[in-house]
Symmetry: C2
Subunit: 136 residues, 2 copies
């Protein structure tokens, strides 16, 4: 029994409409699922990015399935994998989208990250997998 | 330019020692990196699980590299991928570890999830990738 992969990553946003507008543009896709006032979910190649309104998900589940409550307040973090050439292309793409780059870091080991903010203040990073020793 | 994969997933825990004790046992490995009072990081096959003390990471970065601040309070969420047979084995393993199962859900579509809590209250799920339409 070993944990090999993360299937779902969660961020929180009280203004889901703003989050959806932002991630639709950033990810260039529509949500995979949406529940008004509760969540928007995006599907990537093998993982889900789940964006929840913590005011909704902190309440005990009222459906037939008792889904455990959760919900954080404050600025979370996620990082998307990007190749070195992707990062240059992302700089251009983010400029087109009028999304400010908060930081662009060359790590002392190897690899590079760029950071932006989503409307809820979450820190969204794009980074080369080699910053953690993974194959590019 | 498209986002294909998540490289880093973040959770928050003010008591990092308790988080580390828990995840060392759950993930059956030592942290890949650790900074006293700030973070413990775990390496999976192609992704990192980052556990931060929000009281440390919400402060502006003081190092040479200006790493953007973030830090959430409250119960976050992560889900690890597990096959159907893994889930049965996880039930046994969690019993051995004396970790209570909060919920065990058969989804109406297909697939199954089990949920536990980490010491910080984060909701930790194990789920079959097919709950999202991914290959098992």
């Amino acid at each position: 029994m070993t944990v090999r992969a993360i299937l779902e990553t969660a961020l929180y946003a009280r203004d889901l409409a703003a989050a959806e507008a932002f991630y639709n543009r950033l990810l260039d896709r529509e949500p995979y699922a949406r529940a008004e006032g509760r969540h928007v979910f995006y599907k990537l190649d093998n993982q889900m990015l789940l964006i929840f309104n913590p005011e909704a998900t902190r309440k005990p589940s009222t459906g037939k399935l008792s889904v455990p409550a959760h919900g954080a307040i404050g600025e979370g973090h996620v990082c998307f994998a990007a190749s070195a050439s992707d990062l240059d292309a992302w700089r251009d793409r983010l400029a087109e989208l009028a999304i400010a780059i908060e930081a662009d870091i060359e790590w002392p080991g190897e690899g590079r990250s760029i950071y932006i903010r989503d409307p809820a203040g979450n820190s969204v990073e794009f980074a080369e997998p080699r910053i953690w020793g993974f194959a590019p």
